[in-house]
């Protein structure tokens, strides 16, 4: 690359940073201007950014409903962890078996194909009827959300493993069982992890939906309460926290992926 080209890209890069920063700052400034200074929006419609910030600060110490802020975060976290745990415990083994044993595949696939198009959130009324409005119904809905993407990806991962790998293992004298556990499953880990990532994203949505519809704790409850009590700053607090939680969950999965599939380059 010639010198002038380098300068050109330097300039582009600097300009991009400036534009990006000013865009975020401009957004906050507009928000502040519209709410606090010009008063275009009444505080029960859109609270000012400072108000949201102070609400977060305040609710760390003062309880909202049954819990303080960290209590609500903890409750949501427990729900999502239990739901994800159950879903992974069922979906990954089932996916591996379905991908490996054709008979099981042709028996289970049609049932899964019937259930899969139903959005997990549409299970909420039935879940409440079956498990009440406690932990059970939330975990059930989250588990359904996580289950299908994980199952499908595991299944595809196992089913479409490079046949060459299997042949090589056979030539080297591996038994069927060894091929499954030593070759096929490790080879499908990247797809499985990708499925878990999609699933957990969906699971976060299910968590919010379940907590919006029926809960007295959790971040979704905070979001709902803010709407019901005309305290949008509470809703925005919950939305920000759920966003951060989702980002963190994604980060954790990515880090896990990098550790497990160390052989795969970025």
């Amino acid at each position: 690359m010639s010198r002038s080209a380098e300068n050109f890209w330097d300039k582009v890069y600097r300009e991009k940073t400036v534009l990006s920063l000013s865009s975020v700052l401009g957004f906050l400034a507009l928000w502040h201007l519209a709410t606090d200074i010009l008063g275009l929006m009444p505080a029960i419609v859109l609270p000012s950014p400072e108000k949201v910030f102070f609400t977060i600060y305040e609710k760390i110490l003062a309880p909202v409903g049954e819990e303080k802020l960290f209590g609500h975060i903890g409750v949501s976290l427990v729900r999502i962890l239990v739901g994800v745990g159950i879903a992974l415990g069922l979906a990954i083994p089932l996916g591996i078996l379905m991908g490996w044993y054709e008979d099981l595949d042709s028996m289970a696939s049609p049932i899964i194909e019937v259930l899969r198009p139903i959005p997990p959130i549409a299970w909420i009324p039935l879940a409440i009827l079956w498990f009440g409005i406690g932990l059970g119904s939330k975990v059930f809905i989250i588990a359904i959300g996580v289950f299908f993407p994980t199952l499908i990806n595991t299944y595809i991962g196992v089913k479409f493993v490079d046949p060459l790998l299997i042949k090589a293992a056979q030539t080297l004298g591996a038994k069927d069982k060894d091929i499954l556990w030593e070759v096929v499953v490790p080879a499908s880990v990247p797809l499985i992890v990708a499925g878990v990532r999609i699933g957990v994203g969906l699971g976060m949505m299910c968590l919010v939906a379940a907590e919006l519809v029926a809960a007295s704790t959790g971040l979704g409850y905070l979001i709902m309460l803010g709407g019901d009590d005309l305290k949008p700053e509470l809703s925005i607090t919950g939305m920000i926290l759920i966003g951060i939680l989702g980002l963190l969950a994604d980060r954790v999965i990515l880090r896990f992926e990098r550790r497990v599939i160390y052989w795969k380059k970025e």
Binding site: S20, S23, I111, I118, I121, A122, P125, L126, G227, M239
Partner: protein, 253 residues
């Protein structure tokens, strides 16, 4: 063959447990034939305000309204973000700030802003479908093969607009349509959540009312209708995809 046996045996076991041995009470899981009779019942006579068709039309109207407006705004925005570095630099950071928030979480604010009418639901559905439309259009344009651009320049394409229209957009089309498909799924999910929370008609409302009346067969009916409509629309999109970009090979889904 196994497939047929397996579906029939699931329904058979369901029937036996609920209808013959009565191990499972009908308020918990109704026998399969109840779903059929309830289907026939509410197809003609209104249930909580509308017939099944009425509720379905209300839901469809909201989904399609939000979904199409998301396509109309999201795809052009994504394409512009992918093509013009300056627009990307301005819009992308805002987008990255808002993106981690699940669209569903906007429902209470949306109700506060737009009331419990149709606008609040269209807004959240728009939001849910908008995000994948933008992201995929943006990614699709950014992934345009540089060789194609060079070839077009070599063949004498002069202005940016032609390059965008004749090279970048067609090459990004499969990815853009993938985003549309993701958006459709998100739109259905959000619709159900919005209707469960606050509405006076629609499939989600029907299911919520059925839950209060302890009529699980109507809930299951609602789930089936939502599932079938979602699957049909996804199938339609896939056909459109094949028709619009016939060069893309069938991939495994």
């Amino acid at each position: 063959m196994l497939a047929v046996v397996s579906v029939i045996s699931v329904i058979g076991v369901w029937f036996l447990l609920t209808s013959v041995f009565r191990v499972i009470p009908p308020a918990f899981l109704p026998p399969p034939q109840n779903i059929v009779t309830d289907f026939l019942r509410i197809l003609g006579t209104p249930y909580v305000g509308h017939t099944l068709i009425g509720h379905t039309l209300v839901s469809l109207q909201i989904v399609l309204g939000g979904f199409f407006s998301a396509i109309l705004i999201g795809i052009p925005l994504g394409v512009l973000m992918g093509w013009f570095k300056r627009i990307e630099a301005i819009v992308d950071p805002l987008f990255q700030l808002l993106r981690p928030i699940p669209p569903l979480a906007w429902i209470p604010l949306s109700l506060l802003w737009f009331g419990i009418g149709i606008q609040s639901k269209i807004f959240v559905i728009w939001l849910s479908a908008f995000v994948p439309c933008v992201i995929n259009s943006y990614t699709g344009i950014r992934l345009t093969e540089p060789l194609l651009v060079k070839a077009a320049l070599g063949l004498g394409v002069k202005n940016q607009r032609d390059l965008l229209r004749e090279v970048a957009i067609p090459s990004a089309l499969p990815i853009i349509l993938g985003g549309v498909r993701i958006g459709l799924g998100a739109a259905w999910m959000t619709l159900v959540a919005a209707e469960l929370l606050a509405s006076d008609a629609g499939l989600g409302y029907m299911m919520q009312m059925a839950r209060r009346a302890l009529e699980p067969s109507v809930i299951i009916l609602g789930m089936l209708v939502i599932g079938i409509l979602g699957a049909l629309m996804a199938r339609g999109l896939r056909m459109l995809e094949k028709w619009v970009c016939p060069w893309v090979k069938e991939e495994e889904h």
